[in-house]
Symmetry: C2
């Protein structure tokens, strides 16, 4: 009965206790050492949830779309976990969180679990934490995980590499297909959704996107024709079709063997992240090496050596010490 | 006479050849191996330029401000290098570059050299590249380097750690002091500039910022009282005072010994970046380890092991192979 104990939390998560799930996610977010134990013990139970990433510019109606998507997935017999990464705008404070309030209906649903995570400032470790949170939610037993982010920065690229299907949400005003190409949207999208499609320009954007896509047929070396769907999330329009398209992409991945390949590359990213963290600990937390780094950086400022020579000396010491 | 040869470029840069400078910067941006040689050979000549970071939200008039700041620095007998990191908006394409056109006047000035860099998508290596470009420009002989970025993301945090003085530019509409605190602006700012201060709300924002600052006097454990300056860059108003304030901050850093401490921590960041890159090469480019990683990630997907156990096995192999 101790929600501070890792074994207890693991057991409770596997028996469907949402309080234990919430608590474990907090431990992951705080990089608490207990989180590692929980993740390890739960790992054998992960891999069953289908992971969908949703990204797009601010104001594209992503929260509303996620809300109606979750309900549509539910109506098909799924339990849904949502991870929403809320950017606190660095220049205006956390105003964007206001959007969440409108999601009340879905949030009261026992089959839909949502967790918000703040992306204040640095995004360095956020993709890794998000994947870890997704793993814990996966082990809990959700069938579909929806991960919502804003923008196409490093975080979104990393998230796109850790989900099965990425939906890029645009609005009719969002420039044309050439812009999407330039912006690298096509590289990360598996499906485009033009939301607020009752506004002027939706059909034009759709055909511009399709034109741009036809210019680059070999994208991702794929036999998947990147679909462009129209939605009006507020009215629930186009949502069934969008979910059908997600399932079509899932089928495509499974039939071509890409599903397994992607999952393996996701696992590789996780292993590499852990290796990197361990190596960083050995290199930067070692007292003797820290002393050496102090001297080397001083020599650099004094113009006695350059940073490349300094780095080489540092690495040689690390090797001698068998770091 | 070979602008493809590293030694030639180094020599020409030291003799003030701007074509060689531009070429070397391109090599740095492209991560060309020749860039490392150039950087190493130039390193002894770096450290003389004073580095000023300028950041703020889109539309704050940063480009115009940088333009007039550069001219003011010039009028005090300095040669100025500008690095402008232009975000190509991921959702609309590269529209923001349009601002640059207005800078024509300063750009035609032989004592002012500007280089734009695009921050398309990932910002992973961009801070590092920016520092390398700044080092080459420093060795060329500029007295002042201005590095302009947009926002307060990971890149801006990294840049703030690699310059001597960071100016955060706001506009009167930019929310109040509490927002600035929340957004982490106060942590990175050495000076606030409220630009477009002829608009309503400039004085209010100024006193709100000052109130917020008075609530956190121990910020950065510093004896520097974070100043809030008003500017109207388009009319050149407040620009002299802003440059005076930059010099006041420089004096403060020098008198307190922080200048040297900051420069040393900047050198440390450079050394660590090079160490990290070298370790990454050894870990991820080794064919035997790659084969092992393949198997380990497969085992993870198959649920046979967890990523932590996999990472431990991988590191053990790396040690055995003396990677």
């Amino acid at each position: 009965m101790d929600y501070n104990n890792a074994d207890f939390l693991t057991e409770k998560i596997l028996s469907g206790d949402k309080r234990a799930l919430s608590r474990a996610i907090t431990l992951v977010e705080n990089e608490d050492p207990r989180a590692v134990k929980i993740e390890r013990d739960l790992y054998g139970n992960t891999g069953k949830a289908y992971r969908v990433g949703i990204t797009g510019p601010p104001g594209a109606g992503k929260s509303t779309l996620v809300n109606v998507l979750a309900r549509e997935f539910k109506s098909r017999g799924n339990r849904i976990g949502i991870i929403a990464i809320d950017p606190t705008s660095p220049f205006t404070g956390g105003a964007l969180l206001g959007d969440r309030i409108r999601m009340g209906a879905a949030l009261a649903d026992p089959d839909i679990f949502m967790r918000s995570m703040a992306s204040r400032g640095g995004t360095g470790g956020l993709a890794r934490t998000t994947t870890q949170v997704a793993d814990v939610m996966d082990a809990f037993g959700f069938d579909v995980l929806i991960i919502e982010t804003v923008g196409v920065g490093q975080l979104e690229l990393d998230i796109a590499g850790s989900v099965d299907t990425t939906v890029v949400v645009l609005v009719p005003e969002a420039g044309g297909g050439i812009q999407a190409m330039k912006a690298g949207l096509i590289e990360i999208a598996d499906i485009f959704a033009i939301n607020k499609a009752d506004r002027d320009g939706a059909e034009i954007l759709k055909s511009e996107l399709q034109d741009a896509l036809s210019l680059m047929p070999a994208i991702k070396n794929s036999s998947w024709d990147l679909p462009v769907k129209l939605t009006v999330a507020l009215e629930g329009k186009g949502v069934k079709e969008l979910v059908d398209t997600v399932y079509a992409h899932k089928d495509h991945l499974e039939q071509t063997g890409k599903f397994h390949i992607n999952r393996q590359s996701q696992a590789e990213i996780k292993i590499k992240d852990i290796v990197r963290a361990e190596v960083a600990k050995r290199l930067w937390m070692n007292p003797e090496l820290s002393t050496m780094m102090d001297s080397l950086s001083r020599f650099c400022v004094e113009g006695k050596i350059d940073p490349y020579t300094a780095a080489r000396s540092f690495l040689r010491s690390a090797e001698v010490q068998k770091v």
